[in-house]
Amino acid sequence: MIVYILCFILFLVGLYGLITRRNLIKIVISLSIMEFSVFLFLVIIGYIDAGVAPIVELSNQNVIYVDPLPQAMVLTAIVIGLATTAMLLAIAIRLYRKYKTFDIREINNLRG
């Protein structure tokens, strides 16, 4: 149970950073922290007590494997996360070139 709570705390750390930080790069880092807390949660739900890594071994047929599907999901989600982070950083650098600052208080042309 404690690992789930730690996961949730990690999520909150990311959320706290996202809300309080004013620097674009720090916002990207906070988003990544949130993302990885979700990945961690996904990996944990696939864990089975005393399970081993899900690689088929011919010699030993009677071992318990942990659930491989969440691991596959997390790998896919990491690839997606890579793309999102790269996009965010590219946009952040472009914004820096236009505004000469990373401070979001000064980047406020639009009011939603």
Binding site: L18, L24, I27, L31, M34, E35, V38, F41, L42, I45, D67, L69, P70, M73, T76, A77, I80, A83, T84, M87, L88, I91, A92, R94, L95, K98, Y99, I107, N108, N109, L110, G112
Partner: protein, 512 residues
């Protein structure tokens, strides 16, 4: 027809990579192949729509057969409901790509534009077809990541800022969705929508399920820009290049937001009355507040973007009414009517909002401003733009004989019959304000005398842009035919069948 299903994903995906490879070497390759491919997809999807005789078609990728009635392959499922979405995705995509031929010529790196457009269409078709929750998430990310890049395509201050905002909020939505998918997997140990549905229907609904439902509503609500989660939409949709605004407003928020909400809540969950009332309330709030925020806007594309929120409110509330009635188990005919109204309005909104954004793009293309106060007197110089935008404005405000009138009428009738009198009143009220706001748009853009600039040099836009606008204008009229019995049963009937009988969907996949 089953073997045609993966083509909807393969063809645009292959086109997108081909453009990146061959576009550098062959001049004009990107401009010719994209409309051709999307035309092919349009024809294919309409062929499937008109020949749709069975309930749903399934396609197991990799050819993995179910073992002991447990589906292990990733499924593509095509039924009446996803076919409607596929048709509007490829149709609006085709018209937007034709429009882009002239519009995008002023930007550099056209290759990237067309490639991302194809990738976005791949993602949306995948979301609509996917029968597997995680695969749905992956396709959703493909389409939204390419839309992030497309929103920032102008690389000016505002575009970049809008894109950053869109990405942060979109990222949070993605985490919430992924988290909810994880919870669903934890509870059911499967990811197939039909399998999950069978498991949920054989167990009592617990508080845990309610939590998952709330998470999914907030995640996909953020993607669909329902009212408390709407902050990114006006910025993102107004900053994108106009054909992309038409795609985003016309198709993307439906395919990745509304479609998934409808699919999951009708097919997968056993919906309780509270959740369905919550959905109705969210729809009503976004309908009212969206239009109130739209009145004060002077930037045409922002005005249109706020109207998107409001019109999506109509769709969500009428789907919500259908859900409430189904959950209570009373008045099935009224529920059917409400769902029909919602789906019909969704299709109509794709057409008229796409057309309005294309009109806004045409105006911007010629006079380089989006501010209504700086326009005026354009109807003399741009007669086609003016005429088509008049059609679209009348359609969105619900004036007969255009398509918006019929769908709003169906929604209001359904709301009255379901005894949601307040909602029905608000729907009429919002429609009136919409009319007022679009009369303002018409007057300031096309009929007023301009005080700021000489308008004599303004010409009508080039042919590809005219072509898209005229076709969409004709479709605004033609789609009113869907309201009439006979045609409605053929097109909307299968979709409503799918939504009201979730068991059929489950049966075709796992065969229990």
């Amino acid at each position: 027809m089953n073997s045609l299903i993966p083509l909807f994903v393969i063809v645009p995906l292959a086109t997108s990579f081909l453009i990146m490879i061959l576009g550098k070497f062959i001049n004009g390759f990107q401009k010719t192949i994209t409309p051709l491919v999307l035309l092919f997809l349009t024809v294919l999807s309409f062929y499937c729509l008109l020949n749709n005789h069975s309930n749903s078609y399934t396609y197991a990728i990799g050819g993995w057969e179910p073992i002991d009635n447990i589906p292990i392959a990733i499924y593509f499922v095509m039924d009446g409901f996803s076919l409607i979405l596929l048709c509007i995705i490829s149709l609006i995509g085709f018209l937007a790509s034709v429009y882009s031929i002239s519009y995008i010529a002023k930007f550099t790196s056209e290759n990237n534009f067309y490639s991302l457009l194809c990738l976005m269409i791949t993602g949306m078709s995948g979301v609509v077809l996917s029968g597997d929750l995680f695969n749905l998430f992956v396709f959703l990310e493909i389409s939204v990541i390419s839309s992030y890049a497309l929103v920032a395509f102008g690389t000016e201050k505002e575009e970049l800022e809008a894109s950053f905002k869109y990405q942060v909020l979109g990222g949070i939505a993605s985490f919430i969705i992924l988290f909810a998918i994880g919870l669903i997997y934890w509870r059911t140990k499967t990811l197939n929508i039909a399998d999950i549905s069978a498991l949920f229907h054989s167990h009592e609904t617990s508080t845990f399920d309610l939590f998952i439902q709330i998470l999914l509503i907030s995640g996909f609500g953020l993607k669909a820009a329902m009212m408390p989660f709407h902050a990114w939409l006006p910025d993102a949709h107004s900053s994108a290049p106009s054909p992309i605004s038409a795609m985003l407003s016309g198709v993307l928020i439906k395919a990745v937001g509304i479609y998934v909400i409808i699919r999951l809540f009708f097919t997968m969950f056993i919906v309780s009355e509270e959740i369905s009332l919550l959905i109705t309330t969210l729809g009503t709030i976004s309908m009212v507040i969206g239009v109130l925020l739209a009145i004060g806007q002077w930037d045409i594309k922002r005005l249109l973007a706020y109207h998107s929120i409001s019109q999506m409110g109509y769709v969500v509330l009428s789907i919500g009414i259908g859900l409430v009635l189904l959950a209570r188990g009373v008045k099935p005919t009224v529920a059917t009517l409400a769902i029909a109204g919602g789906l019909f309005h969704m299709v109509n909104h794709a057409v008229f909002k796409g057309l309005l954004f294309l009109n806004a793009g045409a105006i911007e293309h010629r006079i380089n401003t989006r501010n209504l106060k700086e326009m005026g007197g354009l109807s003399k110089h741009m007669p086609v733009t003016s005429g088509t935008s008049f059609i679209a404005s009348m359609a969105i405000s619900g004036i007969p004989p255009f398509n918006g009138f019929f769908s709003k009428l169906i929604i209001i009738i359904a709301a009255v019959q379901a005894k949601f009198y307040l909602v029905a009143f608000l729907a009429v009220f919002v429609s009136v304000i919409t009319l007022a706001s679009f009369l303002k748009f018409q007057r300031y853009a096309f009929y007023n005398k301009s005080e700021h600039r000489s308008t004599s040099k303004i010409k009508e836009v080039p042919f590809p842009m005219l072509f898209s606008m005229i076709v969409m204008g004709i479709l605004c009229l033609a789609f009113s035919l869907l309201a009439f019995p006979g045609i409605r049963e053929q097109i909307l009937g299968p979709a409503i069948d799918v939504l009201t009988n979730p068991n059929q969907y489950v049966q075709t996949i796992i065969g229990i």
